[in-house]
Symmetry: C2
Subunit: 353 residues, 2 copies
Amino acid sequence: MSRITERLQIKYPLIQAPMAGGITTSDLVVAVSNHGALGMIGAGYMNAVALQKQIKQIKQRTTAAFGVNVFVPGAIEWDSKRLSTSKELLQPYYERYYLRMEDISLPTEKELNDNYKQQLECIIEEKVSICSFTFGVPSPETIKQLHEHDVIVIGTATTVKEAMLIEELGMDMVVLQGAEAGGHRGNFLADPLDSQIGLMALIPQVADRISIPIIAAGGIMDQRGLHAALCLGADAVQMGTAFVLTKESGAHPLHKESIIEASGDDTVLTNVFSGKYARGIRNDFIDEMNQKNPALPTYPIQNVLTQPLRKAAKAENDSGLMSLWSGQGASLGRKQTVKELIQELMENNASNY
Amino acid sequence: MSRITERLQIKYPLIQAPMAGGITTSDLVVAVSNHGALGMIGAGYMNAVALQKQIKQIKQRTTAAFGVNVFVPGAIEWDSKRLSTSKELLQPYYERYYLRMEDISLPTEKELNDNYKQQLECIIEEKVSICSFTFGVPSPETIKQLHEHDVIVIGTATTVKEAMLIEELGMDMVVLQGAEAGGHRGNFLADPLDSQIGLMALIPQVADRISIPIIAAGGIMDQRGLHAALCLGADAVQMGTAFVLTKESGAHPLHKESIIEASGDDTVLTNVFSGKYARGIRNDFIDEMNQKNPALPTYPIQNVLTQPLRKAAKAENDSGLMSLWSGQGASLGRKQTVKELIQELMENNASNY
């Protein structure tokens, strides 16, 4: 048993990526943890009440370890010109679904910070043993507080420098997000476009510089990717897209379809959904917005502006307006249960971990 | 012995990337081929006379197999506005080195096509057994002609679709260039920025779709990368940056220094040197040009415009104006001989290939 599986109390060096926005249902987290990997709640967009409810649900259905991921809140950049540009561009989409832009309430920094604090309090109160962070690093005080409550603290890095900072701050492990990864980029020191480093180059360079365990994420879909990541110096892998496709995930059926139907070169990095760069299957909304090439509000403003649209698109089965997050390995995915996916990944190799 | 080593008549599944611009000296190609890997001449910018001379030199010093890489010429896009923008931006650099822009002679499509034909004639005449292509695919007639002379024909792809086309055209092998790779992007169907697929995702998706051997390139610097690429489904690897650093390479000492001193997140994709996107260590010229964010002439025009500057920069030891091509694995590199590099790569594993 390797140090990381022992530390995380899991059988396999496999973590289910904490995907926000309803994908990490209790069904998904429970199934992953019950089958020997680490289930993770993507709590990014949740309030503490909803988070607590989900944690309690999961604890009723498994005694295995699971974790929670939270977003580190940053400063909100207010730019009235970008805001009005975006509102103007989104207006036709709002009209398509009979939505009213006047109903949107933009968040304040205080609200985001308060929510983050309440999420952390909930994690401590519910004695969740693992907490990972994205979009930045927690304060030294937060790390200290979590450690005092025996919570394992995991950071997310996209570059060598970010990984080194995470170790320096005393965090316990690092998720190394390669350029291949689906969903939002976790960069926080580096520029999102300049920091697109493939795992082939990123893992060994980080492995040579830090001694905390490395969890590799991005484009890993099957045994080949798992073994390659371990060859390169990772201690475990975190997989997102492969779990999106499972029966237990909360992803919209058309989101799953778009990944299944991918032919290999289908993902793009885009900021049109949230104001922060993220990788997903190219669709109408991305193409239409790119054509206009607007300067958009940054995260979380743009995210709040498009949220009603994405919600309506799901209700109306309109994949042209959904955020179809996916990693570059999309076409390797298959629809299956969590059990089947984990069995396939570990077949003939489980004894090595 | 695997099918690819047998086919290429090499001991190890390792190919030295054909880097144009004086890096693949005869010393380098001979040393690589004599130590069990495949040496490659980067003939992209050479005329047939110089190419023939180098082939003859190499044949005098080794009986082992080696290959030649050529650039497939494309249409030249003339855009007088972009041309004058670029000339204006480059003028201060020309003045710095007392160079005259009037001395530049821009190439014609006919000249490029003629040179390409002469390069291929030379390869056939000199009975070089391996020829690889970049920036496009050769015509069916060219492939047929090379096959009639028992030349193994290798294409370069950056996406699943490009790799499938290369197989469809009857080429014998494909170099799969991941987003991690240094130097010029080999994309020819895909957009250069949209086609940045990391090897972790690219290799298995291609391996599932084609049956010709796959040579993985990009960010591979040591045994970890070699093993990972083979895990993912590659048959061999092609390494560039690691060979740039060898004693035998023709890279400028400051080019080698810039790679050695890299700290992990140092490369960027840029079109400022040649009009075609390429990956290298960030320096003054890239930063200064990016600040102005100009619409530049496409390859090969911009390449010809900056050529006198790059040449002068080498003579004057000014790394701020050199094209410091490097893959994303830069900081894994070490200065050593070809023999040492290959020994290190194959140590304890040679018997497996």
